[in-house]
């Protein structure tokens, strides 16, 4: 029983991180109707910027404090993500207004290649470290109840906590702020939003910037866990089954979807894996999402689209 609970907790904590990655997809889809294939590349770019600036700043400014260097690097990386958002709006989205969804989708693929290439050209291809002081050693709890106790990975726990706080902040931002409401209005109907004076271009910059900040936070967390390297771009793929399952337009969907996928893939790998050869967790997540699609094509929380014929 202890092992089952341990696996469950591990899955929930991994799921929280998947939710964070999935949130990037949802934000952009909600505001601009684009499925953003560049989310992984944005994550890599942001993490590379954070890792490199946190290493360069102590050299440049003679700062000894790691904490201060990290804070400055975070703001510089954030500013870079704003620049990326602005450039994307200017160079990609604005010229493609009123184009087919597939065109915009392909454009995001192009953005992904540009960001991956640019990021590795500017910042390098080696493995870089982000040290934000995350605890690495595990902790055992409830040793009196379960034999051998329950092993909790402190780093995963802190990461899940940060992800949860960010998700909560974003939810508040969407529900309670004027900009957040404007974003939702644009998501519901571009033309209606424009007719009441919401500047579409400005909103797109904001939403891509917010998605960039989400990518930065996810990049810092994953980068601290894995080291910053090209593989981080593939981490975003973990968010795909989450948005399929949770629905592309729902923030709660991204959260619940992430948790279901996280738990589902860990339990499947541990309990089903040994029976069918192992290494199944990645494709199992997609299978799980596809099963949900059979019954709810719009995902768990997605909007049901009814077209008049």
């Amino acid at each position: 029983m202890g092992f089952f609970i341990e696996t469950l907790i591990g899955g929930l904590m991994a799921g929280m991180l998947y939710s964070l990655v999935a949130l990037g997809f949802v934000l952009i889809y909600k505001a601009s109707g684009v499925f953003n294939f560049a989310q992984g590349a944005m994550l890599l770019f942001a993490a590379l910027a954070m890792a490199r600036f946190s290493a360069w700043i102590p050299e440049w400014l003679g700062i000894d404090s790691l904490w201060l260097a990290n804070v400055i690097a975070f703001f510089i990386a954030g500013a870079l993500m704003y620049l990326v958002a602005w450039l994307i709006e200017r160079l990609v989205l604005r010229p493609l207004v009123n184009q087919e969804g597939a065109t915009l989708l392909m454009a995001t693929l192009g953005i992904a290649y540009v960001l991956e290439g640019l990021g590795t050209s500017i910042f390098g291809t080696a493995i870089y470290k982000i040290d934000v002081g995350m605890p690495k050693e595990p902790v055992l709890i409830l040793e009196g109840i379960f034999e051998g106790g329950l092993l909790i990975n402190k780093e995963d726990f802190v990461a899940a906590l940060i992800a949860a706080v960010l998700v909560a902040l974003l939810t508040l931002f969407f529900q309670k702020t004027v900009t957040g409401r404007a974003l939702r209005a644009v998501a519901d109907d571009h033309q209606a939003a424009q007719s009441i004076g919401i500047p579409l271009n400005h909103i797109w910059v904001i939403v891509w910037f917010v998605a960039g900040i989400v990518a930065l936070v996810a990049g810092v967390i994953w980068g601290s866990k894995l080291g910053v390297q090209f593989s981080l771009a593939t981490v975003a793929l973990r968010g795909l089954p989450v948005v399929i399952l949770g629905g592309l337009t729902s923030i709660p969907g991204a959260i619940i979807g992430g948790l279901i996928i996280g738990v589902g893939e860990k339990l499947s790998e541990v309990y089903l894996g040994p029976m069918i050869g192992g290494g199944i967790e990645i494709w199992f997540a997609y299978q799980l999402a596809l099963v949900f699609l059979l019954f709810r094509p719009q995902g768990l929380f997605g909007e049901k689209i009814i077209d008049r014929v």
């Binding site: 092992f3 341990e6 696996t7 591990g10 899955g11 991994a14 991956e116 590795t120 291809t125 080696a126 493995i127 470290k129 690495k136 050693e137 595990p138 092993l151 990975n153 780093e155 995963d156 994953w222 866990k225 894995l226 080291g227 390297q229 090209f230 593989s231 981080l232 593939t234 981490v235 973990r238 893939e265 860990k266 790998e269 541990v270 894996g273 040994p274 050869g277 192992g278 290494g279 199944i280 967790e281 990645i282 494709w283």
Partner: protein, 446 residues
Amino acid sequence: MKLRKLALAASAAAAICSSLLVAPAALAQAKEQFFPVLVYRTGAYSANGSQWANGYVDYLKLVNARGGINGVKIIFEECETAYATDRGVECYERLKGKNGGATLFQTLSTGATFALTEKAPVDKIPLITAGYGRSESQNGAVFTWNFPLLGTYWVGAEVAIQHIAKKLGGVANLKGKKIALVYHDSPYGKEPIPVLQELGKLHGFEVQLLPVAHPGVEQKATWLQIRQQKPDFVLLWGWGVMNSTALREAQATGYPRDKMMGIWWAGAEPDVKDVAEGAKGYSALTLQHGAEPNSKVVKDMLDLVYAKGQGTGPKDEVGQVLYMRGLISAMLGVEGVRKAQERYGKGKVMTGEQVRWGLENLNLDQKMLDSMGFAGVMRPVQTSCLDHMGSAWVRVHTWNGSKWEFTTPDWYQADEKLLRPMVMLASGKYAEEKKLKPRTPEECKL
């Protein structure tokens, strides 16, 4: 009209002059040996691939700086594969006929090696897979164009068990033990399985197989299983980010790192550098060499290539594990050409077929290796028509938290009595499947 004739005459004269000028250039070009270089400087494995590539091309530059191969200059061209098999095959097709024809290919990918094994005999180009590729390709009678020089994954697996047995105080103590293999779920990662299972039957230990999907960034479930099953040792057959992730997960689940041992592709600086103290005690097999910053060949590299501003990568990476792997891989190819020249003409450009002869008659004795700057780095390599591996020496180095070091001076040699029958069986099956007639010892003499 006159003007037109004048123009025609001038053009003709220019053409003749330029052909006279081009002729020596063409002659000079005929003295160039072309080395295509399949690399991955981008993609999920770029951090590791870049170091290998830097070592490889730097060595080719060093050979040129030393005067070429008996005067024949090396030219090379990189092709980016991103460690994708299809792109590896595409690079092979693109480069095989370039610059007078490819001397040889080093695929740096087991997947690409599987894909190219049938193409190489048709194109008559040798494939060197130093420390990787198909283990059964050691049998040169069947795999006539493959050269898994220095060792195969079967060698690695067998030596890993020898080392564990030594730690336990003898082979008899392996009985009843559990050894988990955490492996990259790819042809590369699956290579050691037959040997481990065979040794498990022989010595009475249990082998637990734990595959990890590419690229290996998610291993929580794998390490939860390790925590539950408590294997006595964990063998790590990973590549790139999979290795550092495995070490981080081991730390997070409290699995002792000194009970973990990696294959040579899981034993370089990028695998452990960021995990630092968290990887302390972790060991890895080496393909003879480890990090060799003090070797003579590295000093020559710094003096003859880097001091002139011609180095490919960062200077501080020269001599690191993967850099050395690339460098030694290039050296083996170059020595294949040099050996071929002994038979087919010194100072001449060799064809792929001639280089194959050179590679299967390699005889790099210690004196020769020492003179080339490899003293203390590697042991002799001697191939034959029937043995395309040439050496089965392995050492084990350990990460001390900041660098790799050889804690024990021991050299291991894989047990050929166990491996040779497996090689013959697997290569025999391959020959049967592909309807190949293995070369006889008489045919080898030709």
